[in-house]
Symmetry: C2
Subunit: 338 residues, 2 copies
DNA sequence: GTGAAAGCGCTAACAG
DNA sequence: CTGTTAGCGCTTTCAC
């Protein structure tokens, strides 16, 4: 009732395990006679032999697997990213998913494991530098979304500041002056950066930053709706006429909550966000948002990692992916003051 | 520049590798003197030693990892499922994601790999029996969503037929008689079963099945919108006044396409689906759908697998998760015939 | 308390 | 062409 091993196959085919190894790995070309090859293959088949990846990996030092570290797979942004990674990786590598949200778990056990696991490569959503330090420093690492400050690993991200600038300018052009911000409570720089880029632009043009209460919410519809419900009075009191959310899913919650509170969008409040999920064109009103293709991000990052793992050096800097503003129905000029 | 091994630590701490092993695994209780323990711990720290999981696993036979096989991680249904699995698994197991859509790739390489990888357990979205046969038959397996016909593995799923029946009856009660169906093109039984359950009920009550063209589309908004656009005439010609979709995301596409084609929902066409994703309450009109909590499914399946892996026998049959109809705004009585 | 030694199952030189 | 042998790095009896 045990696993069948190469030794079993060897015994049955009257050869050595070395020969079995050569054959099952397709390295038998011109080194093994067709006769023995067939005998071995037959034995493999009859016994249902599969090479033990653990033993092979121990012997060869390769792992045929890469780890992907993301904070929250339920967010479509990250699941699209994962899809992109998986698609590019193809069948040659096993994808090990590590869900680690640094804000909620500063020392994710998963991270320590992946270095013990000796994966061939790591893709990590904008990890903090002290997380990177806990890696072994030898495994190829590609950082997603944002460079880790003070650490230069290869990374692929979006031209975030362009998108953020476009969004702020759009709001300013419409006549908004007091803009509120609903942030994500997830501790990854992606979200920090979204805010920071907009804040920079806002200050550069108006001399002040975001207006009203500083609110963070989980990146899901219900949490964002609750947060909006709790803080809408505060924002309104501060004169906020436009609210930017860190993620589309949050904007959905805001839209729902605003409808329930009787706050007209975009009449009384303009709403905008980041991601441009497929659903964003469908909500009503359709959401003005900065498009970030997470799928492309994952796809490209995986491609880069593939190169690194095969020892190819990076050919120059990796171009940033576009972050373009999609203007739709949730933004409009503010109501003239009464 | 090599990885530091237990031997390095042993040398530095003047002990044997056996002692190192005992200590780093916390099995030193009363078997190692505090003095040597501290020496070893210090050496571990200075050298940055981490046990090599591959070698450990080869020696112990355990893997501390489970594989999750799903057809499409970009579909929120499966990403929520994954989230549920990951949450329940916790830090003790590494999650290996295998994306394998049997319809598009009948012999996914990923599947063969996981048996070679010797994972401790497998969670698989309703696998076909010949896929199960390619597993090693020894690794604990929990089937998600639908039992594999003619194979009894532990499985956890929804009371689909109840939800399907409720939906059909709802439509019938409203006065619909000709009901169309937009199916998923993904080859997993989850989707097949959704259709089959409804078809059963429909035939039982009306004597006929679904009406109009047999259409399948990818489970994403755009693909479903296209499919609807291409086939709306066919459905209408067949007298269809209600359309059921295999998944909420498809219904979103249908809603969008219907709006563009000028088909009023629910005035001219009622629309319903399965999943009840968080967005479904937000589209307009809000979607009537059968709620299936993929998160709970993943969570419970992972719990079951955990038990199996620890050698606990299943305590009786696993109860099905509820599949309850959520009636919202996309279903209404058909327009009276002119 | 601690160490020596025998595997875990496979790969890769090196002989023959 | 094929077999022998020496690891890969760790765990785990079993002596000392």
């Amino acid at each position: 009732m045990k696993r069948t091993t190469a030794a079993d196959v060897a015994r049955r085919a009257q050869v050595s395990t070395a020969t079995v190894s050569l054959i099952v790995n397709g390295k038998a070309e011109g080194r093994v006679s067709p006769g023995t090859r067939d005998r071995v293959l037959a034995a493999v088949d009859e016994l249902g032999y599969r090479v033990d990846a653990v033993a092979r990996d121990l012997a060869t030092g390769r792992r045929h697997s890469v780890a992907l570290v993301v904070p929250d797979i339920a967010n479509p942004y990250f699941s699209h990213l994962t899809q992109g990674v998986a698609g590019r990786l193809g069948g040659g590598y096993q994808l090990c998913l590590v869900i680690a949200d640094p804000a909620h778990d500063p020392r994710p056990a998963g991270l320590d494991r992946i270095v013990g696991e000796r994966v061939d490569g790591i893709l990590a959503e904008a990890p903090a530098v002290d997380l990177i330090r806990r890696l072994d420093g030898r495994t190829p690492l590609v950082v997603l979304d944002r460079p880790s400050p003070g650490w230069d690993s290869p990374y692929v991200g979006f031209a975030l500041s362009e998108g953020a600038t476009a969004l702020i300018d759009h709001l300013l052009d419409l006549g908004h002056d007091q803009i509120g911000y609903l942030d994500a409570d997830i501790g990854v720089p992606t979200f920090k950066a979204r805010r920071a880029c907009m804040d920079d632009r806002l200050r550069a043009v108006t001399g002040h930053g975001f207006t009203g209460p500083d609110v963070q919410a989980r990146t899901d519809i219900d949490a964002a709706a609750e947060a909006f419900t709790a803080h809408w009075d505060g924002w309104r009191a501060a004169g906020v006429t436009a609210l930017v959310c860190a993620a589309d899913v949050q904007a959905y919650g805001v839209l729902r909550a605003a409808a329930r509170l009787g706050a007209a969008v975009p009449g009384e409040l303009s709403v905008a966000a980041f991601d441009d999920l497929p659903f964003s064109a469908l909500v009503s009103p359709p959401l003005t948002t900065v498009k970030l293709s997470a799928f492309d991000l994952g796809h490209r990052a995986a491609g880069l990692l593939l190169g690194l793992m095969e020892g190819r050096p990076l050919d120059g800097a990796v171009p940033l992916l576009p972050a373009s503003l999609q203007v739709r129905g949730t933004t409009a000029p503010p109501k003239p003051a009464r």
